[in-house]
Amino acid sequence: MTAHTSTLASRLAAEAFNKPDIDYGKLSPLLIVFGVALVGVLVEAFAPRDRRYVIQTAVSIVGLAAALAAVVVVGLNVQSNHGGASLGSVEAMGAIAVDGPSLFIWGTVLIFSLMSVLLFAERQLEGGITAFAGQAAALPGTEAEREASSRGIEHTEVFPLMLFAIGGMMLFASANDLLTMFVALEVLSLPLYLLCGLARRRRLISQEAALKYFLLGAFSSAFFLYGIALVYGYAGSFRLGDIDTAVSSTVGGNGLLLAGMALMAVGLLFKVSAAPFHAWTPDVYQGAPTAVTAFMAACTKVAAFGALLRVFYVALGGVRWDWQPMMWVIAALTMAIGSIVAITQTDIKRMLAYSSVAHAGFLITGFVGAQQGIEVAGQQISSLQAVMFYLVAYGFTTIGAFAVVTVVRDAGGETTHLSRWAGLGKEAPVVAGVFAFFLLAFAGIPLTSGFTGKWAVFTSAWAGGAWPLVVVAVLMSVVAAFFYVRVIVVMFFSDPVGDGPTVAVPSILTTITITVGAAMTLLLGVVPQPVFDLARAAGEFIR
């Protein structure tokens, strides 16, 4: 009899389980990206080898475009809360915040991903074959590798891997609890570790980059995880909103919270490649296939800043006075290291990597200001909006710049040593001119997107009281301008060494990417208002 009642009770308990309520419509951008990645895996399994490239490219482009359309549709139907303070809602049982900033970042990541897919699919530069290893399992320099390469074999698995990474990035920036954020961090990282090691040329360096990225990435995600554990110990929940409640209900900092916050910051700052956690950036950016570098530099940075801002503004906004000093130091250090070490670089990809570190510093400067939307008067923009604008501006420029790197070649593939770029201005004035334009945008010269972006983050940081940091940032911009100008001088005013570089004629795919990058860099420098308006319309994070 008792046994009977207990089974009945358990059955009742099972029925009391509340079925998860998920609004698939609002999550459709995420679901489309993951779904397309799965389709890609199936294509890999069932499509004949010679058709895979075409199918994969088409599936990826159509899928990303569909996801972008879904973002637009969701964005048009988004609801407004608290009298317009924030947009959107928390979905998937509280795991994902589909709010204004999320949608903005989703759109940004998807646009950059579309540009990167075109670089991934470029075949003309290598003579009818993609820039990824033919057979990653064949040892470099062996007969098997030569055979794979002479038969025109290529790994089309890179497309589904990239789509998984994109899905992870979108989830990372919109996760509303720390556990989902951790899973998303891994979903975005694992495919990137793999993609880094798949270069067709200079495979040893590429594999080494993958190893370094993997070991350091796993190390930093362990720190992130321990930070989550301590914050959970403090708040008793993973929800960002609950942590905020716990933070604001207790007075003063708590050891657990502070330690957890610092450790989580390590994990997040590693992903945005801020000093002193930037050591992987130059190695990985240099070793990875350039298309992957472009993808990482733009999309990972956007997603990681999205997550960084969400964690620190939403969950830890109440202890702002505790984390702001730490971020001040990190911002200054990042800008200084990125700008100063870049001067000594002789490799273009490495130099762009250090420039990416420096830009992370400028972005953190904007983030430190921590101007919340409510405090902002009139037409000013909040820190979040300034950072989002900067990310858009930086992403277009950086993808464009790395795309230019892929077309400057010699017999051994891409030639990235600075001395080999001497005289490029005479060899190929258009390519050199476009690259010079990108460098000027990195330096923040007026009429480029770099200037408006810097202006936006610096004003919001200044308004937030971080004026010493803004002074450092301006100084460092001047230092940085030095090495950007040095490259321009090398390209236009020195004579080529030996044969000099050749500029391969890329297919329409890379051309589109470079053109869009350059056009947007110019457009955001001249008429930035529409994107500012969009960022302002995105509002603040939902709480």
Binding site: F34, I96, A138, A144, P160, V183, G255
Partner: protein
């Protein structure tokens, strides 16, 4: 309680030994000690489900994968403990100590309050496993589904990096026979098996070439690698007569070669 005080010193000692152990296999075994002890600590802390998963997934799958790779790489590949960056090890240990101190201070400062315990939650959810299931498939269902992307990535990655596709069809036995005969017809290569090392010679180690009926050694009976290295034993008749068979025999008995 007793379990904790028994296992905690064991785990710390194992962890320190793991960092100091020279051989990678020892590291893996010490890690196994830590993982199994952790499983017991989970059981002590009302987490029977995690106890099982820790044993099955972590110790059973993850650690075995580590051991498997270690065996592939070579068990005797011991780690060099030479410091390559001067002062790096000291700096690392100091940093580690500082970190430990920081966390310990943070933990002891933290007012954790009374332990709530999981009995109420378990009671309400009708057991630990059901409680976890209810949460996993409602609140964390999206994260749970997304882990599938992780697993697919892992499978895809392992395939890409480790699986080498056969580019040419494997020749069948019939094709191989036909090829041999064709070679014999065109270039006179003997279609039969190569002579074994040591045939008609004085001993049958792999570095001893087979002797042809006329007493000359056959190069074909020795592996190409040994020929290239020049470690082929010289068994030509001249040498045998010159040094005398007795000397050779004595050398072998004394194990000189």
């Amino acid at each position: 309680m007793i379990a904790f005080w028994v296992l905690a010193p064991v785990m710390v000692v194992a962890a320190v030994a793991m960092v100091m152990a020279r051989k990678a296999v020892h590291c893996a075994l010490l890690l196994a000690v830590i993982m199994i002890s952790l499983a017991v600590l989970y059981a002590v802390q009302n987490a029977p489900f995690l106890f099982a998963v820790q044993i099955i997934v972590y110790t059973g799958a993850v650690l075995m994968l580590f051991l498997f790779v270690l065996m592939l790489v070579g068990v005797d590949s011991s780690d060099s403990l030479v410091e390559t960056l001067r002062g790096q090890r000291v700096a690392a240990v100091v940093l580690g100590l500082l970190f430990g101190l920081l966390v310990v201070v943070a933990l002891s400062q933290a007012t954790l309050g009374t332990v709530v315990g999981l009995s109420a939650a378990s009671e309400q959810a009708d057991g630990n496993v059901k409680g976890i299931a209810a949460l996993l498939f409602s609140t964390y269902v999206f994260a749970f589904e997304v882990t599938s992307a992780l697993l697919i990535t892992a499978a895809l990655g392992a395939m890409v990096l480790a699986h080498r596709e056969r580019l040419t069809p494997k020749p069948t036995q019939r094709e191989m026979v036909a090829q041999r005969m064709r070679d014999y017809a065109t270039s006179g290569v003997h279609p039969g098996a190569l002579p074994n090392p040591g045939s008609f010679a004085r001993h049958n180690s792999v570095d001893t070439p087979a002797l042809l009926p006329d007493g000359t050694p056959s190069e074909l009976s020795i592996s190409r690698v040994m020929r290239a290295r020049g470690t082929v034993r010289d068994v030509s008749r001249d040498r045998l007569t010159e040094r005398g068979i007795e000397t050779e025999t004595r050398q072998i008995e004394e194990g000189e070669r």
